[in-house]
């Protein structure tokens, strides 16, 4: 009887631990998933208002402007169809340049400006984040369809 009781205790404790860990993991997952949106989707108001998300596309040529403090940068991200302005304070990664693919993480601020907390760097200049490539393709398809109509 005693051995059985002990075993039951173990199973119950084990289940409680498993449930706690599962809750911990799911909760952490729930609150830390970032969705990716293209400029077209942001302009169409599909992106969340108060949640962090990722915006990706190409840095529009001649759009990078620096404020007088030397640190705050504004630039436009485009999927060749729509444009979203991004504001970022800090030092940009080495491979950030106009005409290149970029992924920024942050929130949508007032006036439709995307306030980036992080601008992601890539090791390789020929590398295009798959999300960005896909977003560009989508926008192109949409444009082609629009032209056909």
């Amino acid at each position: 009887m005693k051995a059985r009781y002990k075993r039951m205790m173990f199973i119950v404790l084990g289940l409680v631990a498993v449930a706690a860990i599962a809750a911990l993991i799911l909760n952490a997952l729930q609150s830390n998933i970032n969705h990716f949106f293209s400029p077209t989707e942001v302009v169409a108001n599909e992106a969340p208002k108060d949640r962090t998300f990722r915006l990706g596309g190409l840095v529009e040529v001649d759009s990078v402007k620096r404020e007088d403090d030397g640190l705050t940068v504004h630039f436009n991200v485009t999927d060749n169809s729509e444009i979203v302005t991004v504001k970022y304070t800090g030092i940009l990664p080495d491979l950030f340049s106009e005409g290149q693919g970029v992924v920024a993480q942050g929130k949508l601020g007032s006036g439709g400006v995307f306030e980036a907390e992080e601008v992601l760097a890539k090791h390789d200049e020929t590398y295009m984040p798959p999300e960005v490539a896909e977003a560009l393709e989508k926008a192109e398809d949409a444009a082609a369809q629009g032209a056909a109509k």
Binding site: E41, I91, H123, E125
Partner: protein
């Protein structure tokens, strides 16, 4: 000519690997001695041919042969010689060849250091390693041939990615791969044991040193990668929960669980099935890591320009390995007998809980890493609504890692003291009360010394101190149990090396915790615009910007910032961060200037020129950051110390003797048999 020799050598290596993967295993199953005896020479030959092939690729790089496509895209005539060599593993094809060579090297080492193993075991282990080699060599030859020619030859190479032109990159990939691939040995031992039905303490003792050394290499490789990211990426981070980092962390975590589980299998004959399963999982995760890096399915800073064909190949290989080894496991595992019984409070239970926690952490990391793929796959199958691409942020991993680390660290302290079979928890806690009190005091004092109370800092310190104090206590207890009449040196020597190794590695964990906790809680940083003569204060130091000069390197030009560091009005050092532009790829690169110290690092990197000689500058004060890597070094040293434990050699000698006797009696019986006939 040389590249063709390289490719030809690779094809021969593949043929040898096929032979190595088929005959010894069949020989062991059907008891055909000559087939089993093929294992060693064939395995050694296979390694030699891969090494020849690798040498040919190095030769192409060093002699600037840009008719080889791979060399043309990853090297340049102006590149310093050491980076030409490192360039060999700077891209996809070459790093796979390095991988294959490491596998060959491990196989070669097993073939040499297995004199005392039974012949069937050697045949099976080398056979399994041969099968793995077949997979990788096929992968190389079919999808990623490093010797492909470029006609007409390029006038010069496209240069190695500037980020990779660094000392860290010369050693990081070989070290990491030694670890990754090293788990194939543990895997091969496990599969061989399943095939032969021999899963006992002897098996655990054979595979333990191999597992420990692979684990040490992997720890070193991960540590080097983190160090490299810290000083080379220019923003002072040391861990990003990037998918590729996770890919190396997962097998390491499971490897850690495996080492602990092997301890139970060796000492108490328990956890056999679990141990085998962990060995399979550790290797599968190594393969999964390769898949993640090579296929580009996940956005990562490491992603190479990718090719779906390669991803498909590795995925197929991964599926074959996982499915076939799990089938073998399902078929054989029920026959494995149970280990010794143990009470709920015992060393076995603690190691079990340790294993469960580590496995859960690894599983959670896996979930977070492949979650984007899961969602996408489910969506493409129509099981869930299609959404935008998702990514899992670093806070997810931190949210899981920290709470699970707490019980784990508690066990690190108490586990080494617990007895096998049945331990006395209240007694242990009583023995360790001083350790706990000391840890608590340190945990309260340190945050105030560091500049202010932080709960996380106190938690980190209590965990680190708990490991250190209990380790000291545990060594003292062990020391007292030795013969008191002997001199000190002899008594210290009487304690097995694996015991010291274990505590060294545990203390390494503590040192890592100190570094990680203190740097994340007390780091200060400033991004500022600095005109010439401007100063900024960070962490009690004053940084004065004295402008920028232009300098010229072998294959780059750079703006070098002149930054004077002052403390209490005195100039203590000057830091010279650079902003380089590599001439071939016209790629800009930030080269941070770091003053490394025991208690803090000062870290300065240049942003961009702003106007009129002013630059944006990033200044960090990072307390205790170097402890992170010191901790990793201790873990590696711990692994190496444990691996050189006497008992592996003593038992090896005994086994060799037993084997010789067994063979002698075999011959004798067969003689008698022939005589009778």
């Amino acid at each position: 000519m040389i590249p063709e020799i390289g490719q030809f050598a690779l094809i021969i290596a593949l043929c040898l690997a096929i032979v190595q993967g088929i005959f010894p295993i069949l020989g062991a199953q059907l008891n055909i001695r000559p087939w089993m005896a093929m294992a060693r020479p064939v395995a050694q030959g296979q390694f030699i041919f891969i090494a020849i092939s690798f040498a040919c690729l190095v030769y192409s790089f060093v002699t600037d042969d840009y008719s080889v496509l791979y060399a043309a895209s990853h090297s340049n005539s102006l590149l310093p010689i050491q980076y030409k060599v490192a360039g060999v593993w700077g891209g996809h094809e070459g790093s796979l060849l390095l991988w294959a060579m490491m596998l060959g090297l491990w196989t070669f080492l097993v073939s040499i250091f297995s004199k005392n193993l039974p012949d069937e075991m050697v045949a099976r282990v080398l056979g399994v390693l041969g099968l793995i080699a077949v997979g990788f060599l096929l992968f190389l030859l079919l999808t990623s041939n490093p010797f492909e020619r470029l006609l007409p030859a390029a006038p010069d190479g496209r240069d190695l990615n500037p980020l990779l032109q660094d000392f860290g990159l010369i050693i990081h990939p070989p070290m990491l791969y030694m670890g990754y691939v090293g788990f194939s040995v543990a895997f091969a031992f496990a599969i061989a044991a399943l095939m032969g039905g021999r899963l006992d303490a002897a098996w655990a003792r054979w595979s333990r040193p191999w597992t420990i050394i692979a684990w040490s290499f992997l720890a070193g490789g991960i540590g080097l990668g983190s160090w490299w990211a810290y000083y080379e990426l220019g923003w002072g981070g040391w861990w990003f929960w990037d998918p590729v980092e996770n890919a190396s962390l997962m097998p390491w975590l499971v490897g850690t669980a495996l080492i602990h589980s092997l301890a139970v299998t060796e000492k108490r004959g328990g956890f056999k099935r679990w141990t085998v399963l962990l060995a399979i999982i550790a290797f599968s995760l190594s393969l999964l890591g390769t898949f993640l890096v090579r296929s580009g399915v996940i956005t990562s800073v490491h992603a190479f320009a990718t090719d779906p064909e390669r991803g498909t190949f590795i995925l197929a290989f991964l599926v074959i390995v996982v499915v076939s080894s799990l089938l073998l496991f399902a078929w054989r595992a029920p026959k494995i007998e149970q280990g010794g019984k143990f009470e709920p409070v015992s060393k076995e239970t603690m190691l079990l809980v340790n294993n469960v926690i580590i496995t859960v952490i690894a599983a959670a990391v896996l979930l977070g890493t492949i979650y984007p793929i899961i969602i996408e796959t489910l969506a493409s199958l129509g099981l869930i609504e299609a959404t935008n691409k998702v990514s899992v942020g670093a806070p997810y991993f931190n949210a899981i890692f920290v709470p699970l680390l707490v019980p784990l660290v508690f066990l690190v302290g108490i586990g080494p003291l617990a007895r096998w079979k049945k331990a006395d928890m209240p007694d242990m806690l009583r023995q360790l009360r001083w350790a706990f009190i000391a840890s608590a005091i340190v945990a309260v004092v340190v945050p105030f010394l560091m500049g202010g109370w932080q709960w996380m800092a106190a938690l980190g310190m209590v965990m680190a101190m708990w490991i250190v104090t209990t380790a000291i206590y545990s060594i003292r207890v062990r020391f007292r149990s030795t013969n008191a009449e002997l001199p000190w040196g002899h008594r210290l020597n009487a304690i097995p090396r694996s015991f010291y190794g274990m505590h060294l590695a545990h203390i390494g964990v503590a040192i890592c915790i100190v570094g990680g906790t203190l740097v994340s809680n007390y780091m200060s940083d400033k991004d500022v615009r600095m005109d010439i003569g401007d100063t900024v204060e960070v962490g009690g130091y004053t940084f004065r910007f004295d402008g920028v000069i232009e300098i010229k390197g072998p294959n780059y030009i750079a703006n070098q910032g002149m930054i004077q560091v002052l403390q209490d009005g005195h100039e203590v050092m000057s830091l010279k961060p650079e902003k380089r532009v590599y001439t071939v790829q016209t790629m800009p690169m930030t080269e941070a200037a770091i003053d490394t110290g025991v208690w803090r690092d000062l870290y300065v990197s240049l942003g961009e020129p702003v106007s009129g000689g002013a630059w944006s500058v990033r200044v960090y004060h990072k307390p205790f950051v170097s402890w992170l890597w010191a901790g990793v070094i201790l873990m590696v040293l711990g692994g190496v110390t444990a691996m050189t434990d006497k008992r592996y050699r003593v038992m090896a000698r005994k086994e060799k003797k037993a084997k010789a006797e067994a063979e002698a009696s075999n011959i004798a019986t067969s003689k008698i048999a022939t005589e009778k006939a």
